[in-house]
Symmetry: none
Subunit: 209 residues, 4 copies
């Protein structure tokens, strides 16, 4: 029986607090706020995450892990490719899995951890599979690319001045519109889809909300 170790649960608490605080107040929120929300002292946050930057990166890692899980579960459990894609998007945008806050100064010279970059690759793969399957089945419009999906998450998750549950409701609402648009074979979308570099740059600014 897998024991969720104490420190693992402790980490979760800090990451959850960080996610909540950063969502509500932006990345400009003080570390002290995160610590208070997690019910610990500042220094305890710093022991585990040696800088604000690393804390933010781990918030992103948590988001990506969730996306990966949802993508894999959708493929495994949903036989219809379109339903799989739709379910994946719906779940990712549901409470706790909302996605998209940005880093404020975007800190040019930062280098990302092995763990993060590895996760990014696996997320790319998983989304690509979902998208290709849906296109193959003729249910997803052909001029949409897998790189569009994460961007849509970001679009669909702005920092609205409401409580989280209402935000989730609105995410669902507008995802509805987008899904209709994704399905229809209507008039061609303008502009090229993001390429792999753009997609990666975007990932570097991701976070759950």
């Amino acid at each position: 029986m897998p024991t969720t170790s104490r420190s693992a649960r402790y980490d979760d608490r800090v990451i959850a607090a960080a996610r909540a605080v950063f969502t509500e107040q932006g990345f400009a929120a003080p570390m002290a706020e995160v610590a208070k929300r997690a019910g610990v002292g500042v220094a305890s946050v710093y022991r585990r995450y040696p800088s604000k930057h690393e804390l933010v990166e781990h918030v992103r890692i948590a988001a990506f892990r969730l996306i990966l899980e949802e993508a894999e579960a959708a493929r495994a459990e949903e036989p219809d490719p379109w339903q799989a894609l739709a379910r994946f998007m719906r779940r990712c945008l549901r409470e706790g899995a909302g996605i998209g806050t940005v880093l404020p100064p975007m800190d040019q010279q930062h280098t990302y951890s092995e763990e993060f970059r590895d996760l990014r690759l696996r997320v790319a793969k998983a989304i690509e599979e979902l998208v290709e399957a849906a296109k193959h089945a003729g249910e997803l419009r052909a001029d949409v690319d897998w790189t569009d999906i994460l961007l849509l998450f970001k679009h669909l998750n702005p920092a609205l001045p409401t409580n989280e549950s209402r935000r989730a409701e609105l995410r669902a609402r507008y995802l509805g519109l987008v899904l209709e648009g994704l399905r229809a074979g209507g008039s061609r979308l303008p502009g090229p889809a993001p390429d792999r570099d753009e997609w990666q740059a975007l990932c570097d600014n991701f976070a759950t909300s």
Copy 2:
């Protein structure tokens, strides 16, 4: 006959600089950065806008003025109600009119200026007319409300780590998807549209990008 006075053009320069700087670096960007971009001293910015908060409010006012102009022009120049709505959204999301950055701490107790609140009313009215006309003509799905439109602007204008011209391209791309969704009479959207209070709260956090 209104002459574009020297100080009016000067104001424009400051607002444009603020818009650019805040879009690129977030509202955490220093006032000094805005001043430098505008090619003036900090104190000059402060003479015209006595606090950062007021500067931000004027950035928002500029955005709303633009929205208002576009809405009125769309109604006046575009006979087809659907085309009018689509053109309005397309123009607002085009370069220089992108919309949606948020204030980080959301400064609860701030009170908004007469000018701002007046503008907000007129924007509401103008959008409502565009939306009602399109619904009347049976070209816009019935379960969409006029309050949805500004939220969609916000959704369609996230702070992506790219240059502004590419951001504009992507805004256009995803607006394409949304327009398809708006038109189709597909399955009912989940969740209620924002009510007037939500809509106003949102306005308080608006800005051009």
Copy 3:
């Protein structure tokens, strides 16, 4: 008539304050303490010296400028080579020109400014001339090298828990002993004199006291 510009005098005040505070409390002293002593706000110190490190470097530059001036004046005004060397050392160790506080963590990866490195070269040259002249005249023992002089300054200027005027008196007292030792052709000194690299490393840790 050379006007000592306002900002130049202002700089002097900050450097003097830094020298005093660092001498009394070590480099661990807060920047706020330096600012208070200079009669300005912290941020004003930071405007001119963007980091504590740079402030310290400028304190060192001030010390080196003084050494250089004294060395040149000694050569020019003192015909006897031994008297020139003795006067140089006495003056450098007198109040305001005391020399030798160390940087606490010695901050490995720091790179020094052009200005500092240039000054270091000129100081080396000037001291070398004084020393070689005194050796040539047979008045300075042969097994002493020019690189020894700065080290002796450092040795003769420890951070004693007294007021500056008494410290200066004690520096003079022990310099007396050292000068006697430098003159006599007594038994050979143990150990090699510092080489150029050692000498430069030492310079990187210098400061007036």
Copy 4:
């Protein structure tokens, strides 16, 4: 018969680690660093030395014990008074017995332990005897006082940016110069020797390096 108990050797390890760390990084070095060097946990250091201040005091006590031993051994084993004094100074400045780092904030209100003050008295006595004997024999200049000796240790042991073995070599080198100066009956030294109060104040800032 005193057995070197386990805890005594343990204490030695901590003191040795503290001496090494403080010498290399100054007293600003973290307690955790000392603990790591000693190969124990922080809390273990704190069990024995309830504050950083007490640890530092014990580092000083260790230095004084060594000075005392050397002084007594020199008197006992060296019949010639000058040789005794010279040997004493040489040994004290040799590796492991180097002397002189200062406490950075000098912590005004601290009161010193019985043990420390007792040791200080005995050190004073022992040095006085060595000095008086050498003066009596006419081998040490008359205008030097016993209070000068410890100050000279401090002067001869600055925190140079080198490894300890080279530092010891340089201490020996400049001690050579000072010994020549101490012996010669040259021109009178300027300034009075430290009085007893100055000497005690100095002791309060002593440490082995």
